[in-house]
């Protein structure tokens, strides 16, 4: 397979990577190569240079941080270079950010999970990806560094369209952050596209309950839509409602109502109309699973 030629630089630190990006016009980062390389092979992307951050040490740590302190928001921090395997196997992520662990475990296959990183996945903005829905449902964010310093990008500001994210060309994602809440539960349900293995419909759900009433809810979709999105109509239906079959049925029926018809992907596997239909069904499934309500 003949890709266009390009220059290659291996960064030895985040600072070095930022310099290399700044020094080489048209340069792009590469981490696991599982998002970019397939697109370079097809000619969809052809960067003039690659800056490899895949071997940087210390950027793959997964840790739970105690409460807010020294400007740190607390919660969970997942290093950008953590692989999907590391996330799927992390007790910390499973306990405090179950939806993200579910998505990592359902992503691709064992080799793909060993190869791809969470930072690359979220920076790339492939709308068929799994992690975007849990990130939105968990109200997570990305920590990014640029020559100008650090900033945080909220999940709701991240996805700008197919392969477009708010991560700028001169920025490096260093960590994924997720707030934690001891009274909350979350989960992710994936309907695999039979051809690509990516999400045809992926639903992420986060709920805070006292066991009887749903106090707060966030629901998000990936794969079914051209851009991963929150589903406010379903969230409104859930918030303040009893944990019951009826609530689940009503919220699921609302799932796609805030999205325009054009928001849904239509391809050989499924029409936009069918995807909208599946979105309701899969929202229902995810809610049953997360709330552990028997049907």
């Amino acid at each position: 397979m003949y890709m266009d030629d390009f220059e290659y630089y291996r960064a030895d630190s985040v600072e070095n990577a930022l310099e290399l990006l700044a020094d080489h016009d048209g340069a792009e980062l590469i981490a696991g190569a599982h998002g970019l390389l397939p697109r370079m092979k097809t000619g969809d992307e052809s960067p003039s240079a690659l800056v490899d951050i895949g071997q940087l040490s210390g950027l793959d740590a997964i840790e739970a941080r105690d409460g807010e302190r020294d400007g740190d928001p607390g919660g969970i921090s997942i290093g950008a270079l953590a692989t999907h395997t590391e996330i799927a196997e992390s007790e910390t992520v499973r306990e405090h950010a179950t939806a993200l662990a579910d998505a990592a475990a359902e992503l691709g296959d064992p080799q793909v999970r060993n190869g791809g990183t969470i930072g690359g996945n979220l920076a790339h903005g492939d709308a068929r990806s799994d992690p975007p829905a849990p990130l939105l449902a968990l109200d997570g964010s990305l920590e990014v560094r640029s020559p100008d310093g650090e900033r945080t990008i909220a999940a709701t500001d991240l996805f700008e369209g197919p392969f477009e994210t708010a991560v700028a060309d001169d920025e490096i994602v260093t960590a994924v952050r997720v707030p934690t809440d001891a009274d909350a539960v979350s989960g992710y349900h994936k309907r695999r596209d039979p051809l690509s293995g990516y999400a045809m419909v992926g639903v992420g759900v986060w709920l805070r309950t006292d066991g009887e009433t749903i106090e707060a809810a966030r629901v998000a979709v990936t794969g079914a839509t051209t851009n991963p999105a929150r589903l406010p109509a379903a969230e409104d239906e859930l918030e303040g409602s009893a944990v019951s079959e009826e609530t689940i049925t009503e919220a699921s029926a609302q799932a796609g109502t805030t999205l325009s018809d054009e928001a849904f992907v239509s391809d050989v596997q499924a029409s936009a109309e069918y995807r909208e239909h599946l979105l309701s069904i899969d929202t229902e499934r995810t809610l049953y699973e997360v709330l552990e309500v028997d049907r």
Binding site: M1, D4, V112
Partner: protein
């Protein structure tokens, strides 16, 4: 970006093709350890790991099937983790320890897993086998008593057009049983 060498023909007089190639394609000197043996080689940045292993170093065990990361016949272990070597640049593995299917058998003595594939007819054409073996080997390294479901999940990234998978699952299951008896 590399262009076909039209004018280059005039300027290359007196140089070897190798020198010309280097000048126009900025090669990188890398070193990798494959199955315990260290190799130094020069690769263009765009060379895939599977291409370097097969064409530069002669490890033809890793096959090329789809080149898109789907079929898994190019599976190798890089620093202990199985990946598809068509979805990694060779230059990214500079300094890495790589294991290919050639590294499994010790001086021609098949491993219990390989023997089991033979006994249970876990292969027909054999094209998927190198990848299947590495994925199965990775599973058995961390799980010595996998269920059939776990075996199927472990080989999810490896496609086989011949066997229908049943015999492959049998072969892996039997290996686990055999290793279990030995303990």
């Amino acid at each position: 970006m590399w262009k076909p060498p039209t004018v280059i023909a005039n300027t290359t007089r007196g140089r070897t093709t190798e020198e010309t190639r280097r000048q126009y394609m900025s090669e990188h000197e890398i070193s990798v350890t494959v199955n315990g043996e260290r190799h130094e080689l020069a690769v263009e940045p765009r060379t895939l790991l599977v291409t370097a292993l097969r064409d530069e170093l002669g490890y033809t065990g890793a096959n090329v099937g789809c080149e898109t990361g789907r079929c898994g016949t190019c599976t190798v272990a890089v620093n202990g983790e199985t990946i598809k070597s068509c979805t990694r640049l060779a230059v990214q593995t500079d300094g890495a320890e790589i294991e290919t299917v050639e590294g499994l058998a010790d001086d021609g003595d098949l491993t219990p897993l390989q023997e089991s594939f033979q006994e249970h007819h876990g292969l027909q054409c054999g094209y998927c086998t190198p990848g299947m073996l590495l994925s199965a080997d990775a599973l058995l390294a961390t799980n010595d008593d996998p269920t059939r479901e776990e075996i199927r999940e472990a080989i999810e990234g490896n496609l086989c057009r011949c066997t229908g998978y049943q015999n492959i699952v049998d072969a892996i299951e039997a290996t686990a049983d055999r290793l279990g008896e030995r303990r």
